[in-house]
C-alpha cells in the first residue's frame, strides 16, 4: 500500500492547486519560515480524518480555508485529495488508484468523495482503517512535538504501545 500523491487547493496558504508526488522512500519539503510546509502536514491530517480545528492550529474550522492576502481575495472552499496506489488490490475496490477527497465550505458544509463519488466521512475512515494510514498517533509527529514522545506521562507512553498492539 503506497501513497501516490496529494492534491490541494484553497487549503490555508495554498490558494492555487498544489500537487505533491510521494516517493517510495523519503520525500522532503523545505523552504523559509512561514512559507507553508506545516500547512501541508495539516492538509494530510485533515484528509485522513482530523476533525478538531484546534489540532490544525485554527480557532474554528473556517481557518483552514484560504483567507486571502494583501493582493488576493479569500476563497470559499478548501479541498484536499489523497491518492492511494491500489495496484496490489489491497483495498476492497476494483480500481488501481483510490482517491479520497475532503471539502469544507465557508457555510460550514462538508463534502467527502472516494474516486469522485460522494460518500460519508464514515466510508473514508472505514477505507483507511484497512490501509493503516493515519490510524496511529505515532505516525505523524507535528512540529515541536518530538520530545513529548518521551516527556509525556507513563500512561501516554503506554497509549503509544497500545496503538501498535
Amino acid at each position: 500500500m503506497r501513497l501516490s500523491h496529494l492534491e490541494m487547493i484553497g487549503f490555508k496558504s495554498f490558494s492555487t492547486r498544489l500537487k505533491v508526488k510521494f516517493s517510495d522512500g523519503i520525500t522532503a519539503v523545505v523552504g523559509p519560515n512561514g512559507c507553508g510546509k506545516s500547512n501541508i502536514v495539516d492538509a494530510i491530517r485533515w484528509a485522513l480524518g482530523e476533525h478538531r480545528a484546534t489540532s490544525l492550529r485554527g480557532d474554528r474550522m473556517e481557518d483552514i480555508i484560504f483567507n486571502g492576502t494583501a493582493a488576493r481575495k479569500p476563497l470559499g472552499m478548501a479541498e484536499v485529495s489523497l491518492t492511494i496506489d491500489n495496484s496490489e488490490q489491497m483495498l476492497p475496490v476494483e480500481y488501481s488508484e483510490v482517491t479520497i477527497t475532503r471539502r469544507y465550505f465557508r457555510s460550514g458544509a462538508s463534502e467527502y468523495q472516494i474516486n469522485k463519488v460522494p460518500c460519508r466521512l464514515k466510508d473514508i475512515t472505514n477505507l483507511l482503517l484497512d490501509t493503516g494510514m493515519g490510524a496511529h498517533a505515532y505516525s505523524i509527529i507535528e512540529q515541536g512535538m518530538v520530545e513529548s514522545v518521551v516527556n509525556g506521562s507513563p500512561l501516554e507512553r503506554r497509549q503509544l504501545i497500545e496503538e501498535a498492539a
Binding site: L18, G25, A28, V30, A71, Y138, E147, R158
Partner: protein, 164 residues
C-alpha cells in the same frame, strides 16, 4: 487483550534497546512497566548515553531527548510499520552528527514505510529521494518550486525533482 499488549510491549522493548544503541552509537536503553496491574500500568523509559551514568530522564539534554524519542518511534515502527509517516522538523534539536545518524537510520525503514519529512537540515535533504521547495514569492501565497540539492534554493515551478 492483555497478552497482545504484553507481546507488543516486549517486542518494542527489545527493538528500543537496539535502535537507541544505533542512534547513540553506544549507551543503553530499556522500557519498564510501572508497578501494579499490567493492564493499567504506565511505561517508564530508561535511557543512558554512552559513558554516562544512569540518571533521570529529565536530566537528558534537548538533543538527547529528541534522539531518544526518535529511537522509540523507530522501535514501534519495527513492530507495526505504518504505511506512511510524517516528521515535521524532528531534527531541529539535533547537532550535525546526530542529524546524520537520524537520516541514515531513516533510510533503513523505507522498505515498509513512506516518509514525508519537513526539515531545514541539509543532511536530511540529502537523504531524501524527492525534494520539494515551498516558497512565498508572492507574500502570503504558498507555491511549490523545484529544488536543486546543492543550493536548496527555489527556481521555476515544477513537479517532484529527484536530487542529482
Amino acid at each position: 487483550a492483555r497478552s497482545r499488549f504484553m507481546t507488543t510491549f516486549e517486542e518494542v522493548r527489545t527493538n528500543f534497546m537496539t535502535t537507541f544503541q544505533t542512534l547513540f552509537e553506544g549507551g543503553e536503553a530499556d522500557l519498564m512497566l510501572e508497578e501494579g496491574d499490567p493492564l493499567e500500568a504506565g511505561i517508564e523509559i530508561m535511557a543512558r548515553p554512552g559513558g554516562k551514568r544512569l540518571q533521570s530522564l529529565a536530566l537528558l539534554s534537548g538533543g538527547e531527548t529528541a534522539l531518544t524519542a526518535i529511537a522509540l518511534l523507530f522501535a514501534i515502527y519495527l513492530v507495526k510499520p505504518s504505511p506512511f509517516c510524517v516528521f515535521d522538523e524532528v531534527d531541529a534539536p539535533l547537532d550535525d552528527a546526530n542529524v546524520r545518524r537520524f537520516a541514515g537510520a531513516l533510510r533503513q525503514f523505507t522498505s515498509d514505510t513512506q516518509f514525508l519529512v519537513v526539515t531545514h537540515n541539509k543532511r536530511t535533504m540529502e537523504a531524501a529521494d524527492y525534494l520539494y521547495g515551498i516558497t512565498m514569492e508572492e507574500p502570503g501565497l504558498s507555491k511549490m518550486v523545484s529544488v536543486r540539492l546543492e543550493d536548496a534554493e527555489s527556481d521555476a515551478e515544477s513537479d517532484a525533482l529527484e536530487p542529482a
